[in-house]
């Protein structure tokens, strides 16, 4: 018997309309766990580097985490992996909600889509019965609307639906896949789904997920639940509200937005608005939120409720979470009411709440600076808010300039030319980033920005405080119950970190310390993404309930795979390295690994070079960021080394050629 996982993937060939239930190899689970780990293995095995995002040979994989569907609180992530049309690298966006557990209960660990359907279809997975069904009546429908229509059509109110909106259908490079309160947004995976002509995947499952050692597993679950309760009642002192308590993050419940609104840059990631958060603004926003928010809502088996149902007068209800609350507001230099209103339309269209607002602000900046002209925006309203609605519609419909903008700022700037590239200034690896511009280089963030292949800072940061605490007593207090650290040295790193003086940024934490810290942060995210754990209860937070010391026990008791810390670290390193290898094959190199030029005002080229050099060695990569032959061998990835050599990426001596 297989534990925690079902042991089956659903393979769907959309070109031929063929559906197969395929048993998976338990050895792969041991080596790559599940979720992102096994997704990566499948992509490595089956999608060659020449494959374009919109080729029928590209796969779109919906992978559940290894522990999804078990009693482990907050373990509900679906990891969607494919080739991104925007970055041309692997996209691996995740979504919470209810879809992953439902798929597990239906008897599958993954849905692997290949080929392309000739017509718009949806997939209906009802336990063993799987059908590809006509979706022509859903063409152009909103993602949320589609979910409701399908639940009605199938008379299955309990079915879970992952759907795309118009943006996905029209292959907007930052189209999302929406699933009720959650979405998988980054990297344009919704566009790949649209390209495959799949409007939605509907799932209903009523089968068991088995546990290897029930008694031990429940003990672990209770420990975690008790800790969550304690942790929420004892917020971390001296940090911003969303970091003080668990959640992914608690943007819907927490009202104080001083930190985001005053520190993040508005418009096209340009303007800091110090002093923005006045009493009047605070009151106005509070009123807006209280009026709009019907209820705080959770994902499957999680008490945190960090999403919300939003109902604005005259508009259909939708669900929201996280930072999308602010992105439209800030890009448009408007207020929260506007932000929540346009987000309703954006959610139905299914676009990424990070990229879409920035692309709109970018377009208006180009207009302001004469790179685009009024003729590029026929019939655009005069008012600021109206312009943003107009742009969103144009982009999603790929009409006029919208067709260019739909490819994101990087590709749009290239196409527009005439100096437009200067304005696509907030990208990493061709993808729009959080609009954050700071003063002093932070070595930890430097490395995360450079090497994080999820290309999204929130999906690599966590565990370690974002800034030094002012007083030593505060730091001493903080480290006292910091049992999540993989090694006690991290406590010392933090204790000695000062806001000013010798032991402060950018030279402290030292290069070596920085490598340790970033590696730990990244590892925890990769483990979450393989197990299906929500980062809001784990990797994103300081002192989270899940950590390197209890995860191995969860895997042993849950999945029946003998696990310990070393073995888990090795597994995470294995699929993390495989993911890098996949991207290396697609051309990613050191030159691509850099934060936006203007991310910090004060830059230190020599230090930055040393950081990257040292971290590459630390990770077992050569000076180009390519995993070396020795490190591949150590991880049991000789097949990667052979592939690299055959492609001339590594020479026999292990040098990059």
């Amino acid at each position: 018997m297989r534990y925690a996982e079902t042991g089956f993937n659903l393979e769907i060939d959309l070109t031929r309309g063929n559906i197969e239930k395929v048993a998976t190899d338990p050895k792969d689970t041991e080596l790559y766990l599940g979720g992102l780990g096994t997704n990566t293995k499948i992509l490595w095995d089956r999608v060659p580097p020449e494959t374009d995002a919109f080729s029928p040979e590209n796969l779109l994989i919906f992978g559940t985490g290894l522990l999804c569907g078990t009693a482990a609180t907050g373990c509900n992530r679906t990891i969607v992996s494919t080739i991104s049309p925007q970055t041309k690298l692997m996209a691996f966006s995740m979504m919470g909600g209810y879809w992953a557990p439902e798929l597990k209960y239906a008897g599958y660990d993954k849905v692997v889509l290949r080929g392309k359907s000739p017509d718009l279809v949806y997939i209906w997975i009802n336990n063993d019965k799987v059908e590809i069904r006509d979706a022509s009546h859903l063409k152009g429908k909103g993602a949320i609307e589609t979910a409701s229509l399908l639940q009605k059509e199938l008379k299955e109110p309990k079915a879970q639906v992952a759907a795309i909106g118009l943006a996905g259908e029209n292959r907007v490079f930052y189209a999302s896949i929406e699933q009720g309160r959650s979405s998988a947004s980054r990297g344009g995976i919704g566009a790949v789904m649209g390209d495959k002509n799949v409007k939605a995947i509907v799932v209903r499952g009523t089968q068991d997920i088995n546990i290897a050692d029930p008694e031990k597993f429940m003990d672990l679950c209770y420990e975690v639940n008790d800790y969550i309760k304690w942790r929420q009642e004892n917020p971390i002192k001296g940090v911003i509200p969303i970091l003080a308590i668990l959640g992914s993050p608690q943007e819907m419940a927490i009202h104080d937005e001083q930190w985001h609104t005053e520190n993040f840059s508005w418009g096209n990631a340009r303007t800091r608005r110090k002093g923005f958060w006045t009493d009047e603004v605070s009151e106005e926003w509070l009123e807006t939120m209280n009026k709009a928010r019907t209820r705080l809502i959770s994902c499957y088996n999680c008490p945190i409720a960090c999403g919300a149902t939003i109902s604005l007068p005259g508009l259909p209800t939708y669900m929201m979470k996280c930072f999308t609350k602010l992105t439209y507001t800030m890009a448009a230099m408007s207020n929260l009411e506007f932000g929540l209103t346009i987000a309703q339309r954006a959610t139905e269209y299914g676009v990424d709440g990070y990229s879409a607002p920035q692309v709109m602000a970018f377009a208006l900046e180009l207009l302001e600076n004469g790179i685009l002209s009024d003729t590029d925006f026929p019939d655009m309203p005069e008012d600021n808010e109206g312009r943003h609605f107009y742009l969103l519609d144009k982009i999603v419909r790929r009409e006029g300039i919208g067709d260019v903008l739909a490819n994101g700022t990087h590709w749009a700037a290239k196409e527009i030319g005439n100096g437009a590239e200067e304005y696509a200034h907030n990208n990493i690896k061709k993808q729009e980033q959080l609009p954050l511009k700071l003063s002093m280089l932070n070595p930890i963030y430097f490395l995360m920005y450079c090497t994080g292949e999820k290309i999204n800072i929130t999906q690599i940061e966590g565990q370690f405080p974002q800034a030094a605490f002012p007083k030593r007593e505060q730091r001493e207090k903080f480290v006292k119950d910091w049992f999540q650290v993989p090694d006690d040295k991290f406590k010392q790193y933090f204790l000695d970190w000062e806001p000013r003086g010798e032991n402060s940024n950018p030279y402290y934490p030292t290069v070596d310390m920085t490598c340790d810290i970033v590696d730990w942060q990244e590892m925890m995210h990769y483990i979450d993404d393989a197990l299906g754990m929500c980062a809001g209860l784990s990797s994103f937070h300081m002192k989270p309930p899940y950590h390197i010391h209890n995860f191995p026990q969860f895997i042993t008791a849950g999945a029946g795979i003998e696990m310990n810390e070393e073995k888990l670290k090795q597994a995470a390193k294995r699929y993390r390295t495989l993911l890098r290898a996949f991207n290396i094959n697609r051309g990613m190199r050191r030159k691509d690994e850099k934060p936006p030029e203007d991310h910090w005002k004060k830059r230190f080229p020599e230090l930055e070079k040393e950081l990257l050099d040292t971290y590459y060695v630390y990770k077992g990569w050569n000076e180009e960021g390519i995993p070396t032959r020795e490190s591949l061998h150590e991880l049991g990835l000789d097949y990667v080394a052979e592939d690299f050599i055959s492609r001339g990426i590594l020479t026999d001596e292990g040098k990059s050629s």
Partner: protein, 178 residues
């Protein structure tokens, strides 16, 4: 046949639909608790509590599995409360032929909440950390009734389904076989 007064513990679960955020932890843990061996699997479809969820309509109703019923109601009910329209039979606890809820998914056998017999606290309550489910106990004096035998209850059900004469015939036929 009136017996003596006797003390009885009555357990009530208070359900606050305003506090429910739809996580279904209650369903998950109920199914795990009743798995054999205990906690060896989870499958909300086997749960004895169901959360009727319709997030867009802001509807969250945890419902407990009650008695099995052989036939569905002649008429159905549909409530509208504070402008929210609840689905048909939303508040009903019956394991009823009209719907899939409160039945084992494979065998179709009825499920009934047993208040997690033997546990200090019902598991669904324990896992609902937002207090949408809270258990209360009170002592009541009741007149002791002669408990109807299980067999009798079963026979009565059969009789209501097939008619008493058919049952009697069947019994006499069966006894002749021996």
């Amino acid at each position: 046949m009136t017996g003596e007064k006797k003390k009885k513990i009555i357990k009530t679960i208070r359900i606050d639909v305003d506090k429910c955020h739809g996580c279904r932890a209650c369903e998950m843990i109920c199914s795990a608790f009743h798995a054999k061996p205990r906690y060896s699997s989870s499958n909300p479809a086997r749960s004895r509590i169901r959360v009727i969820r319709d997030p867009l309509a802001d509807i969250y109703v945890p419902v407990y599995a009650g008695e099995y019923t052989v036939a569905e109601c002649a008429g159905r009910d549909k409530y509208t409360i504070n402008g929210k329209e609840y689905s048909e039979c939303a508040f009903c606890r019956a394991s009823c032929p009209s719907r899939a809820d409160f039945k084992e998914p494979d065998s179709g056998l009825p499920l009934k909440c047993d208040m997690c017999e033997g546990e200090d606290e019902p598991l669904c309550v324990k896992w609902c950390t937002v207090d949408a489910l809270v258990v209360e106990e009170r002592e009541e004096e009741v007149e002791e009734e002669i408990e109807q035998e299980e067999l009798e209850v079963g026979l009565e059900e059969l009789a209501s389904k097939y008619g008493m004469n058919t049952i009697m015939d069947a019994i006499s036929r069966l006894s002749k076989k021996d």
